[in-house]
Symmetry: C2
Subunit: 243 residues, 2 copies
Amino acid sequence: MQIADSPLARKLGSFVRLDETELATLENLHNRRRRYVAARDVVYEGQRDQSAFILAKGWVASYKLLPDGTRQIVDFQIPGDFLGLRSVLLRTSDHNIEPVTKIEASEVHKEDLLDAFQRTPRLGAAVLWAASRDEAMVVEHLINLGRRTGEERMAHFLLELGARLSLVGLGDRTGYDCPLSQHLLADALGLSAVHVNRVLRRLREQGLVTFQKGRVTFDDFDGLVALSEFDAAYLDQNGPLLP
Amino acid sequence: MQIADSPLARKLGSFVRLDETELATLENLHNRRRRYVAARDVVYEGQRDQSAFILAKGWVASYKLLPDGTRQIVDFQIPGDFLGLRSVLLRTSDHNIEPVTKIEASEVHKEDLLDAFQRTPRLGAAVLWAASRDEAMVVEHLINLGRRTGEERMAHFLLELGARLSLVGLGDRTGYDCPLSQHLLADALGLSAVHVNRVLRRLREQGLVTFQKGRVTFDDFDGLVALSEFDAAYLDQNGPLLP
DNA sequence: CGTAGCTTTGATGTAGGTCAAGAAATGTGG
DNA sequence: CCACATTTCTTGACCTACATCAAAGCTACG
């Protein structure tokens, strides 16, 4: 795969048009590729030596456990996303990480990253953009949990994922492949797994989305947007802002 | 007031022990003091010229409005907190701001802040610590909304505020003054105002907290901690980490 | 080809929402 | 300092969204 086709390059490229030098720098960051089955390893390593990871393949869930055993998933990471970027830029954040699928990730040492920022500031700007986009998503999830019904939450969530996946070439307006179980959806949306099932059924029966056999299919994209009042502005992915 | 007694100095001082030079730098940042009745002004200015504000007096709410008119408060800011720091460090974030009380704030220009970082890196570290603490709070609010009952949410929320206020000298284990209406609490906790009232009554009747006449009184601090499974670790305020 | 995890569906319970209306506090102008 | 207006608080009656419990059918994989 050409580096320009990698999920991260596609994502950053939507914000800053990357030239040859910048793509080469990005490729350098990418070279310490590893394969993990259990992402638990990833976290521990990330915490130990202050490095971050670029997710190249597979899905991951970031979550926090409550003392009573329930958990809340804060976000999922998909190809092109950083893991543990915050712990490099700011201070270590404390949530756990769990792989949803088998994953492949590249380790990025703190120094390499800061070095890359120095040499290609535009790349640095793009990475900061990605970080603040992650934050905006957490805020949007907060609103989802606080003020939307089950159906709206699900619709909003599936649309957000769709937008994110489209950006890295893994989905479009018709749908995308999605490895999440209903139980994982429940932990992300603050619902019970049983209710997630019912919500999905209702959305399907209304002809809005179908989520079956690992595939999300938008049967009525605009209807879904209307139901959830989805406004992708917070994802801020409307073409390059820096030329 | 001595600068060392200002809310911000107290807060940052809990993370990094500040020396004379650093306190002086902080005082410089503080000198463009303004008084606002409506914080709407604050936001607009903040967006226009890329400056942040240090809240010196009063309370503020950051929220997002939904198209259907309901709103979700993401966090409150109290004395010593930054407003719009993110828009200086990263990219402009898009939530709105509303004053809860009359406020006083100091404007901080982007250049002044970055300049202060250069000259006193420890101060810079402290400000980054404050920023990542803000983020950790948003995540904790997410968990509150997703996985806790009304009573747990309220207990957790009141304890978090107590911890934050104590850090800047505006509260202790017995309680604190709190200008929030039940309606504001509802918008922050994802509940209805009516239910907030009932929750507060139940907590009062159980002898845990009393919130009346603008004062939060902890009647049984430990009981409240137990009920909400409150663990202040995410606030990360256990004395200076840097000597 | 059996066992473990996922999905689906029904029955029933409950946390919390909505509507409504009175009481208390707070503010405002004279 | 009072009279009036407005917001905030409080409580009751009723209803809905979602949780919990339980059991059966599906997939998948060692």
